[in-house]
């Protein structure tokens, strides 16, 4: 077996060719497996070369350097020091494990993609339930709280409330019955972090819940999960069953006095149930309507009992903090936002996927280094975080390091982790309409600022997109936004105006263009666009007329065609169909 492997990143094909040429010349080509690989850090390094079994990484090599690598390293076994990857301390690693040259750090997703999620043995082989054993062995409840406090872990569901504080309130509350709830009602359209964690590593969340239960004296737990996630539910059910069989759940866990059990409760497609009081109402079997806080669930929650509600990602962090220590965790991240955050990076980005980065990583690094840049090399326009409760962030703010605080300052929120990249073909009015439509559909209708305000604002936005507005409309939108933010009962209504406010803040020109010039430069707002035939380009192939669903296009073969504007429904099929750029959108 030939285990000499050279991997060359595909952003430097000339280096690969050079290797091939040199290896052939020197008669080494059969001794090495020379292969190309796709990288992610395209913007970080011009090239990455990995050499095995030596485990050496060379970065930013140029064509002339290859000869040196072949002669010195491959033939004489001498490492080319000047080309070695160096980390921020300017050290390089000569041997041993490969250095971390990636932007990603997987804490929450530590096992995802590496273990069989349906096998508890698989989880056990990777420090599984060690954190639980550790606290049961020689830790008091206060120790656990202290450790979480030192770690400065904050809720990953969106608001970023310190986890230890939540736990401490419930711990101190006087009650025989207390509950732990795992909020897996991931409702943000375009986000699937929680689902991936539950599908990839369900035991880490269960272990986190058991630790929480031990800490606050709870004996019953619920996982509230969307019914739309059948695979995650199946794997959770299996994980709970296995954990019971192994003695991590149930009566007298690991032979101690501590008992705790978990049940799964299914959500039924209501976004508002991500709000903790609405979620509680749903578990109780009722309509998922929020109620005013205080009292907070930590003291008066499920069936009026003290209840800890944590999000999936928060809970998955817990075992790691217990294992590695709060100090260890605290070193990762920014001053006020510690640890990592998982994002579902989607939209107009090349490498869409699930990414986990330390807090403090910039948006640009996530989109360009991890995400590989914009799809089809289009022009970046904005990135949206926080879903229907968040906002858009424009190009000039891309270097902002990510933290709860910095995103709030920009008018967005961390949210649960949706990150949607938009390019120049996306219309900001249309996008804010999309999010607001979502919030309006999902409003539970209990309080009027949200129920009526949202609807009114949506009507105003629709008017803008249809060209039926004047400049006074912006003032009206701002007034309604402000009322919704201040007077709505729960987070859904309070944050629903955010997508509108932030697009107005950064892309006011685009709104004005719609309102005053009746133009949508992205070509998304149907009422404002006109499809016409460019007489110079039309060759009369008739393809557009065949595609047109309403027969609005006339013209014989080899004649210049014509679009009847009264019939046109602006579906854009003719535009997509024409191969001669003869259909123009304006």
């Amino acid at each position: 077996m030939n285990n000499n492997v050279i991997l060359v990143s595909n952003n430097s094909p000339h280096l690969y060719d050079k290797f091939q040429k040199l290896l052939t010349e020197k008669n080494l080509i059969n001794k090495y497996q020379l292969k190309k690989f796709n990288t992610f850090g395209l913007n970080t390094y011009t090239s990455i070369i990995k050499i095995y079994p030596d485990k050496i990484i060379y970065v930013d090599s140029l064509e002339n350097d290859i000869e040196e690598i072949v002669n010195d390293h491959l033939i004489n076994g001498k490492i080319v020091k000047r080309l070695l990857y160096k980390n921020e301390h300017k050290n390089y690693l000569k041997s041993g494990p490969l250095p971390i040259y990636h932007k990603q750090l997987r804490l929450v997703l530590r096992n995802s993609g590496l273990i069989d999620p349906e096998s508890i043995e698989s989880y056990l082989s990777r420090e599984g339930y060690r954190a639980l054993a550790k606290i049961l062995n020689n830790t008091t409840q206060d120790n656990v709280i202290d450790e979480i406090k030192i770690s400065e872990l904050r809720g990953r569901g969106g608001a970023g409330y310190p986890t230890w504080l939540k736990w401490n309130f419930t711990k101190q509350a006087q009650s025989d019955i207390k509950y732990i709830i795992c909020n897996a009602d991931e409702g943000d359209p375009g986000a699937y972090m929680d689902r991936s964690v539950l599908e990839g590593d369900p035991h880490s969340v269960i272990e986190g819940m058991i630790i929480a239960a031990f800490t606050v004296n709870a004996n019953n737990g619920f996982i509230y999960i969307r019914a739309e996630y059948p695979l995650a539910i199946k794997r959770l059910e299996k994980a709970i069953k296995d954990a019971k069989e192994y003695g991590f759940l149930g009566k007298n866990i690991l032979g101690t006095n501590f008992s705790f059990d978990i049940e799964i409760r299914l959500g039924a497609g209501a976004f508002v149930c991500g709000e903790e009081t609405a979620l509680i109402s749903s578990i109780e079997g009722n309509r998922g309507m929020p109620r005013p806080r205080p009292p907070f669930p930590s003291t008066k929650g499920l069936w009026e009992k003290p209840t800890v509600i944590n999000n999936v990602e928060t809970l998955a962090n817990i075992p790691l903090i217990i294992l590695k220590g709060g100090d260890w965790y605290n070193k990762i991240g920014t001053e006020k936002s510690k640890g990592t955050k998982v994002f579902a990076l989607t939209g107009k980005v090349k490498n869409s996927g699930l990414v986990e980065v330390p807090m403090g990583t910039s948006l640009r690094e996530i989109i360009y280094d991890v995400g590989g840049g914009i799809l089809n090399d289009n022009k970046f326009k904005a990135v949206q975080t926080g879903g229907p409760s968040g906002g858009v962030i424009p190009e000039d703010k891309l270097d902002t390091p990510i933290s709860y605080e910095s995103l709030n300052e920009l008018g967005s929120i961390m949210g649960s982790g949706g990150m949607i990249v938009m390019d120049h073909t996306d219309c900001m009015v249309d996008v804010s309409k999309f999010y607001l439509q979502f919030s309006v559909d999902e409003s539970c209708g209990k309080c009027s600022p949200c129920r009526i305000g949202g609807r009114q604002m949506l009507d105003l936005l629709t008017n803008i997109s249809e060209g039926k507005s004047d400049e006074s409309i912006i003032e009206k939108i701002e007034a309604i936004s402000s009322a919704m933010q201040k007077a709505s009962l729960c987070g859904l209504g309070q944050t629903a105006p955010n997508p509108v406010i932030s697009t107005l803040k950064y892309f006011k020109d685009e709104y004005i263009d719609h309102i005053v010039n009746k133009k949508c430069i992205s070509g998304k707002c149907k009422s404002l666009i006109v499809f016409e035939i460019d007489k110079n380009n039309c060759i009369g192939c008739h393809l557009c007329a065949i595609k047109c669903p309403v027969n609005a296009i006339s013209g014989g073969k080899k004649e210049i065609h014509y679009i009847d504007q009264n019939k046109c429904i602006k579906c854009g099929l003719c535009f997509d169909a024409c191969k001669f750029n003869a259909v123009i959108k304006s």
């Binding site: 375009g190 739309e228 959500g267 939209g347």
Partner: protein
């Protein structure tokens, strides 16, 4: 059931509804959850799993079994998008309207489907073969735009793909 007025109305409804004998399996499920607090949603989930929606006579039966108002059950059913009160078609087509899908042209997919099937979102074709609906996000954003037909996921869709996909299901019909 203390409220006499409601009781009166409900009894009238109960009388007008054909009685249904629930399967043993469903009765067992109800029995298992009967005394647990917060059981209603879990029971409704199972009903929908079996029937594809929540039929009125089943809802009436549950009201009797759990000794709760029918209004309470309908309050819950109508609050949650997941629960349906009408019988769906044989195949459920769900178009993902999550943000990533929306940006990548889910609307065009939706238009094409409505055009092809001759129904609007939320409706069922006359032959009872397809029900068309939108869903929020099925979490396959990497494959956007996405739709599902029953449990099968179709990703990276273009409007011109739709007719071919649909025909796979209509062919099955003629074979039956």
């Amino acid at each position: 059931m203390e409220d006499n007025n409601l009781n009166y109305i409900e009894n009238a409804i109960f009388e007008g509804v054909e009685d249904i004998k629930l399967s043993e399996e469903l009765m067992e499920h109800i029995e298992k959850w009967k005394d647990k607090p917060g059981n209603l949603i879990m029971i409704l989930h199972r009903v929908q799993q079996i029937f594809g929606y929540i039929p009125l006579n089943v809802a009436v039966k549950i009201a009797k079994e759990l000794n709760i108002h029918l209004a309470k059950i309908y309050g819950v059913i109508t609050f949650y998008h997941f629960f349906k009160t009408e019988k769906p078609g044989r195949h459920k087509i769900s178009i993902c309207m999550g943000t990533a899908c929306y940006l990548k042209g889910a609307e065009k997919i939706s238009d094409e489907l409505q055009e092809l099937l001759g129904i609007e979102i939320g409706q069922t074709t006359k032959d009872g073969l397809f029900t068309l609906e939108t869903v929020r996000c099925i979490g396959c954003c990497g494959l956007a735009p996405v739709m599902t037909i029953d449990d099968e996921v179709y990703g990276n869709l273009k409007p011109e793909d739709i007719a071919g996909i649909i025909s796979k299901y209509t062919n099955i019909k003629t074979g039956v």
